[in-house]
């Protein structure tokens, strides 16, 4: 089956979650004897896009141009459908994000395709096409058979693991792709974009250091920031912390905030309420630092330290700095 993979770029660089999507899509193509083609929007150097080959893609369709530089799910979905028709793709792979879900949904409606979002593993393909996805905010999994001719899978972070040592050296062929763009997809006027340019994105981060009300006050965040910087980590927080304006809203992790799935999540002075856990239960390894040995977070943790964050954080920072 021919597979099309929609990827996201960040300043011309393929996002890590998109690299996973390419690997995922290539594995599906390999299983079914098809080719994996990547679709990318916005400015990027060919040398960057060629890297899709390392992850198993044979070709990259590159749609560039001023109009496509700005994230636009309506236009991207329109263009994606044109790419699907051109390539006769049967499976579409998109990594899960606000943009990914929107593109998947709009493309599904145009293509009359079944769409499953939150896929956590490679599909089971033998006669039927079955996927496993995360449901109830990480509390369970469901298998679903996709019956439509064209299938759209929105894949969660860590659905496949990238083994840097096992990557090929093959480069993908980059082809310019010029979709017909409809005026109706460009009716919105963007009046303001606030983006902390230097900040590591939480959904992409491999390591997150996160603080709760146990950090006491906004001006006592420095020890946490120090550990994050020593580990090259992004920073997050619990809901009360962002509600109190101690930290910006986009750092708020949990049920009603961002859902993250880093390799390492370090929770500092967070009690571990179920709504917070709902946002972090996709993490590979969880470390909890809390002065209360009964804090519920320890039940969800891999490593725990009972103690005062203000004593422990500096020790961890020092040890982390000595690592490198």
């Amino acid at each position: 089956m021919s597979v099309l993979i929609f990827i996201e770029l960040d300043n011309g660089v393929i996002k890590k979650t998109s690299l996973e999507a390419i690997l995922y899509g290539s594995k599906v193509a390999e299983k079914t004897g098809g080719e994996a083609t990547v679709l990318a929007f916005g400015s990027a150097d060919s040398s960057e896009l060629e890297k899709a080959g390392h992850y198993g893609a044979t070709k990259v369709l590159h749609a560039s141009g001023e109009k496509l530089n700005h994230e636009n799910s309506l236009a991207y979905a329109d263009a994606l459908v044109q790419a699907v028709n051109q390539e006769q793709s049967k499976v579409i792979i998109i990594s899960k994000s606000g943009l990914g879900d929107a593109v998947a949904a709009r493309a599904a409606a145009k293509l009359k395709a079944g769409v499953v979002s939150g896929v956590t593993e490679l599909p089971e393909i033998n006669g039927s096409f079955k996927v496993t996805r995360s449901i109830y905010t990480g509390k369970a999994f469901a298998t679903t058979e996709i019956k439509s001719d064209i299938k759209i899978l929105v894949v969660k972070k860590n659905a496949v693991e990238i083994d840097e040592n096992a990557l090929s050296t093959v480069q993908a062929v980059v082809e310019a792709f010029s979709p017909n763009l409809r005026d109706s997809d460009f009716k919105a006027t963007v009046t303001n974009v606030e983006k902390a340019a230097s900040e590591l994105s939480l959904t992409e981060a491999d390591i997150i250091v996160s603080g709760g009300r146990g950090m006491k006050s906004p001006d006592q965040w420095q020890p946490l920031l120090d550990l994050a910087s020593a580990l090259g980590a992004a920073t997050g927080c619990s809901k009360p912390v962002s509600d109190l304006d101690w930290r910006p809203h986009h750092e708020h992790i949990g049920q009603t905030g961002i859902k993250v799935a880093p390799n390492l999540y370090i929770a500092c002075g967070i009690s571990g309420a179920i709504q917070h856990l709902a946002g972090v239960n996709g993490s590979k390894c969880i470390v909890v630092i809390n002065k209360d040995p009964e804090a519920p977070f320890f039940k969800a943790a891999d490593y725990g330290i009972v103690g005062d964050v203000f004593e422990i954080l500096p020790k961890l920072t020092e040890a982390a700095r000595n690592l490198k």
Partner: protein
């Protein structure tokens, strides 16, 4: 302005999830159901907009009769009337097709949803409905102001936020802090009893997906405790044992 708010009927966030019937059905025993928390934000903002500028607010749910208490709650919070499409909503395309069918007959100016349902966490129904109606859809929306036929929206993008203006009609997936959740008052609860709740049968839709079995995650191993005075050894363990550094 005609507003439609689409709500889900989902297990409370703290509910313990287990399955029955050979892992093909959720065990509803002892599970408390609520309006989806994001849908609740959509509803709250919808009610505010209606109060500000007049018009009507309809709530729509695709689901079975056990959702009626949650639909009544939405009516008590301020919706004028409700529609329930009587079907088990197990596929996003199916659900969206039902919503789009209702919307096509009623010409809503604004269709508000949650950013995602907390049972399926798909985040796709708004986009599907938007495309089926050939109108724009945006999600997750944190702020919404309406001025005449123009909407000003602040939405979350990766690592930040973006403000945009766009003409109605629109489909939006909402999240906090778009509005504060509303709690029904006594008067609302009384009037909700007599507000119309129309039950319609679903339109037929090609089957896109078929649900299979459910499973629970493997139980977590015990947490390894490290004494506070040896905190630094944690970093070593993360590197050599957990292999995450």
């Amino acid at each position: 302005m005609k507003i439609l708010v689409c709500i889900t009927n989902v297990p409370d966030t703290t509910a313990k999830i287990t399955f029955t019937d050979n892992d093909t059905k959720l065990n509803k025993n002892g599970v408390q159901y609520i309006i989806g928390p994001y849908d609740d934000y959509a509803l709250a903002r919808g009610v505010e907009l209606k109060e500000q500028s007049g018009g009507t607010l309809t709530v729509l749910h695709v689901g079975e009769a056990d959702a009626d208490p949650q639909i009544r709650k939405a009516l008590a919070i301020g919706a004028d009337d409700a529609i329930r499409i009587n079907a088990d909503p197990l596929d996003s395309y199916f659900t969206a097709s039902q919503i789009a069918h209702v919307a096509k007959q009623n010409n809503y100016d604004l269709i508000l949803m949650g950013r995602e349902s907390i049972d399926f966490n798909s985040g796709v129904v708004h986009g599907l409905v938007g495309e089926m109606l050939e109108i724009p859809s945006y999600s997750p929306v944190m702020k919404l102001e309406i001025n005449g036929t123009t909407a000003t929206i602040a939405r979350e993008i990766d690592g930040g936020k973006e403000t945009l203006t766009v003409s109605l009609p629109l489909v939006l997936g909402c999240q906090e802090p778009i509005a504060e959740w509303k709690i029904p008052n006594m008067r609302g609860i009384m009037t909700a009893r007599t507000k119309p709740l129309q039950v319609l049968e679903p339109v037929s839709v090609d089957e896109m997906t078929t649900p299979g079995k459910y499973a629970l995650p493997a139980p977590k191993g015990a947490c390894k405790m490290i004494p506070a005075d040896e905190a630094a050894t944690l970093i070593k363990l993360l590197q050599t044992e957990a292999k995450v550094l």
